[in-house]
Amino acid sequence: MVAFIIRRFIQSLFVMFVVALVSFAMFQFIGDPVNQMVGIETSLAERAALRERLGLNDPIYVQFWHYIVNAVSGDFGLSYQHKRPVADMLLERLPATLELSLVSALFSLIVGIPMGVYTGLNRDGFLAKLFLTISLIGISLPTFLIGILLIFVFSVMMANAPPIPVFDLFTIYPSALQLPSFGRGTTVDIGSWRTGLLTTDGLKALIMPSITLGLFQLTLIMRLVRSEMLEVLRTDYIKFARARGLANRAINFGHALKNTLVPVITITGLQVGSIIAFAIITETVFQWPGMGQMFLLAVQNVDIPIMAAYLMLIAFFFVVINLIVDMLYYVVDPRLRVDAGKVSGHG
């Protein structure tokens, strides 16, 4: 196992190196960074001095080396537009994005896995077919459209809908169901971490963005669990478990579901990276003050330092999550531990 982890670690370093190369190369496309940093009235001598001070006269590989050394120590340079350290700007907005991503990942797992199990167990049931059809539509709807539809239904229509009386017994006020559509609501600072998870207002503000962000992953996980369940239910050990007279619940959840978990973990791990990236869209729709929104503004204003730093940060998340997933395999799947022991001589 140690050899395996070390090999994956070296692969991760290689990925980070290539991504660093790409983000370094982005700077080269935009011409002279000095022009981005100084005003029109700066003299040529001052420009030359700045260029020397920034190390722009060094050979390109020396510049790249400096770039990597700085990045490792958390220095991504100054934003062209805001003239502030990019690392600080990213850190300020990191909590908003991470909370949103985490909540939507949890949402997609908590709803997606039971739906997958259900559709796998009752493959011809009406409800199962309904789930599958809805999931196909969910895949076809672009993320931003889902967000807009949610805002339309839960913020606009609910606010304007008249109260619905139910048989003189009580009245439903749709406006009570109205959800906040923009921003994070009330937030609390814990150290430098600004969280929205501790206030009702902040939690309410999370509902629509995290559904929007998690819906695609939900359909993915549901379909995955369903097909894995169908596969596993056909195996001999499930038939044997039935022959032993075990309760359905024990078979379905103790034997079948457990064995579908490996691919679910893989896909979830892979998807966390894309959840963070898709947060760009969700954050724009819901005006969520996270990293994605900042990245989009950087793209619009060609603020390369922010774009490069964001790319490296996403790559870093991706690499770390993949390492964790690799280790989780060993926790979940006992066969791997045995195999690894057997073949460790070759590994």
């Binding site: 935009i30 709807l141 990236a277 619009q300 390369i304 774009m307 991706f318």
Partner: protein
């Protein structure tokens, strides 16, 4: 049957055996095939094909179908702005789906917008197809270090979502054009080029991996070895002999990727880095309409959104069916 397929020689002429099957023969074979059979049996697929066809017709003949020309600024009247759909109280028959904030007829804008979306979608699918097939062929045929290098790059790119890659490429290209004023391009052309490049460059990996896989299989077959033996140039072998045999799966990917490209284009336009509002695509229309959602003018964003969703759903369904129909294992 055999007679019907043979070309009838004109009287007096010498009957020359035709080397290639004629068009009529191809059509006949298509209607005889499993693909057509499975198409006929799936009502959902027929519906999806009809809807897709409708969009294509709309895209090609847009200027003749659309009641108004939404791109002609001279014909727009601000007094016509934000008129609700025709069936609502303040609606007008001139504007069946209502108008947007500029006084543009929404139906016409949607027809023109689908045209823009489809053109960009097709162009970027073509670009990623050319890049992906090229790199996949080289990777599978040449092998060795080149193969390893291309596939490592593909894996790394694949680990980033296409939308993020597209946004990055988009930003870099826009930045390049901003700092290189010697390229004289107007804003709309620039937007098209940037979109096609960024979507095309972010989606080549799927093709490359598939083509590489099939090339690895084909490379060792006898016809390729025979071509080698008679001294055909390797580039020619790739182009004339291997390529036609690896195109099947590429078609399936291309169909699904078309839906993805249309979504990506709409998303980029919605995010404000795509087609400018003067000649809007579906995504731009949704972006513009989104500002009016809260003031009650829902139709400005909901109709383009529905048009986009229906288009993508239809193409997706078609792609799903094509994948199953061309995959002999699933029959």
């Amino acid at each position: 049957m055999a007679d019907a397929r043979m070309p009838t020689p004109a009287p007096g002429s010498v009957a020359v055996p035709t080397a290639r099957p004629g068009l009529a023969d191809g059509v006949h074979r298509f209607f005889d095939s499993d693909v057509w059979f499975s198409f006929k049996r799936s009502p959902i697929t027929i519906g999806a094909a009809a809807v897709t066809l409708l969009y294509f017709v709309m895209a090609v003949f847009g200027p003749w179908i659309a009641p108004h020309d939404p791109f002609d600024l001279a014909k727009l009247d601000l007094l016509d702005s934000l008129i609700p759909p025709a069936w609502m109280a303040d609606g007008e028959a001139r504007f069946p789906l209502g108008t947007d904030d500029q006084g543009r007829d929404l139906l016409s804008a949607i027809i023109y917008g689908s045209r823009v979306s489809l053109v960009i979608g097709f162009a970027s699918v073509l670009l990623s197809m050319v890049i992906g097939i090229g790199l996949g062929l080289i990777s599978g045929f040449v092998g060795g270090a080149i193969d390893a290098f291309i596939m490592r790059m593909a894996e790394i790119q694949l680990s980033f979502p296409a939308i993020l890659v597209a946004l990055l490429i988009n930003g870099v290209i826009i930045g390049y054009f901003k700092t290189h004023p010697e390229w004289q391009v107007d804003q709309v052309t620039l937007a098209y080029v940037v979109l096609v490049l960024s979507i095309g460059l972010s989606n080549w990996v799927q093709y490359a991996r598939t083509v590489r896989g099939s090339t690895l299989v084909e490379r060792n077959k006898e016809y390729v070895q025979a071509a080698h033996v008679i001294g055909i140039h390797p580039a020619m072998i790739m182009w004339r002999h291997i390529l036609p045999n690896v195109m099947g799966p590429v078609l399936v990917i291309a169909t699904i990727q078309l839906a993805l490209a249309v979504i990506t284009e709409a998303t980029l336009s919605f995010l404000g880095v795509g087609v400018p509002p003067t000649e809007p695509s579906l995504g731009t229309l949704i972006r513009v309409g989104n500002d009016y959602l809260f003031s009650g003018e829902w139709w400005v964003t909901i109709f383009p959104g529905a048009a986009l969703a229906i288009l993508v759903l239809a193409v997706n369904l078609l792609g799903d069916w094509l994948r199953d129909a061309l995959n002999p294992k699933l029959r």
